[in-house]
Amino acid sequence: MVREEWGRLVALLLTQFRRLDLVEDALGDAVEAASRTWPADGVPANPAGWLMTAAKRRVVDRLRTEAVAARKHPLLLTDAERHQEATRTMADSGSVVEDDVLRLVLMCAHPALAPESASALSLRLVLGVPTADIARLFLVPEPTMAARITRAKKRIVGAGIPFAVPDASALPGRLDTVAQTTYLAFTAGYAPGTGPDLLRAELSGEAIRLTRVVLGLRPDEPALVALLALMLLQHSRRDARVRDGRLVLLADQDRTRWHRDEVAEANRLLAAPCLAGPLTPLTASYVLQGRIAAEHATVASAEQTRWDRIVGLYDLLLQVAPSPSARLARAVAVAEDRGAAAGLAALEGLEIPDSHRPAAVRAELLSRAGETDAARAAYDQAIAACRNDVERAFLVGQREALG
């Protein structure tokens, strides 16, 4: 119950008190009090209302203490204040649903915050994910994450980042930032071979929950619909990605362990009418990555994969959002579709700074093409550049298997 209601309670408390520095602590105290008294006294008829009242009382207590100390605190800027002081002449407020939780989401994912801070703050304030879990997700010590979240909250007040919904012309751009922030939290849990993988994959799932919360407020928002589909497809493989603490490649995964319900939902989302029209480059890139993932998710075995279609989708992706990693993935697909020589040609001139992956793929394709000496040299290059223990061990094994 608490996790479901957390964001709404934070938003309501912020609307009333505008004190970002007090609200979260007060709500935390209220939840703690509930965990002590509810088991003994029974759960109240209106749990959210109980928590709200308890949290309010704590904020008021703090304000009273401060009033004695007579210190002035900076306040969060809210819609209400803006409407009093500043009628937004360019705003078309009639067409925008003003919702407390949406204001909270937009504040946490403001472009003036560093993306990683915005990600962490969204998980903390909107979803109530404990700081210790957020720290585990982003692979930093808990005190570091606590400090990062505190800094982000200070910056929101200090820089004048509003607790408000922007006018309709600016909203789509801001929702794109929300999508990017969310996807960052999602991908943080999937860094290969680092940390206790399965647990982090579970934490990644919080990003899916965040997207569902925002979609509840802005249904049919193309960037969020496409992002949810993409994340569901990737997340559906979580139980098959790791075996005995080792990463399992897509082709070798036990497909019966993929979550079929999530794949089905993602396919429905990808077919949604809101994705049929012209899309922003960001949304289009999510849709195309989602379609690629869906190609894998909807065939019964790795052998049946339609690599020709996947190459076509990568071609489109490279037009919308060119990146070296997309080119690399396309080269792998080309090799599967048309053979190692074609894949090697597609790799021509591709380099990713500080990454061993292009060399590792080149080595694999050279080995398939029977060019053992060249493959060995490419493996050496990849092993030298690889900084992940699990992956390096895999590469060393491949090199030895060349004989």
Partner: protein, 118 residues
């Protein structure tokens, strides 16, 4: 809130002295539009704004042990390239950014001021 807006570099805008007369006119028009938009917006007030002179005419003042020293440098790197500034009262950062989009595409630093209350 009050914001000090520093125009810290030419950014995507061609340097003033390399601009044709027509380009300079167009830039001036943008400054005029910015002034007008600030004046038209409730809750926004342009408190001050000036273009800066050549940085070679600037003076650095340092006080060491009660002795004032004046030199013509070294200047802080960012300030050396700074073309001008505004002091702006605005409800929040989003409003400031929305208004500043009317200016030529300079590199800009937006710095909130601190309200000192006795």
């Amino acid at each position: 809130m009050k914001y000090l807006v520093l125009l810290i570099g030419d950014g995507a805008e061609k340097p003033w002295l390399e601009q044709t007369e027509a380009e300079q006119m167009a830039a001036m028009t943008k400054f005029g539009e910015f002034d007008a938009a600030c004046a038209a917006r409730d809750g926004v007030e342009l408190l001050a704004g000036e273009a800066l002179g050549d940085s070679s005419d600037a003076t650095v003042m340092r006080t060491t042990g009660g002795q004032v020293q004046l030199t013509d440098g070294p200047y802080a790197e960012v300030i050396e390239g700074m073309g001008g500034f505004y002091l702006l009262e605005a409800p929040d950062l989003d409003v400031v950014v929305e208004l500043l989009r009317l200016l030529p595409p300079y590199d800009i630093q937006i710095h909130p001021t601190v309200e000192v209350t006795p």
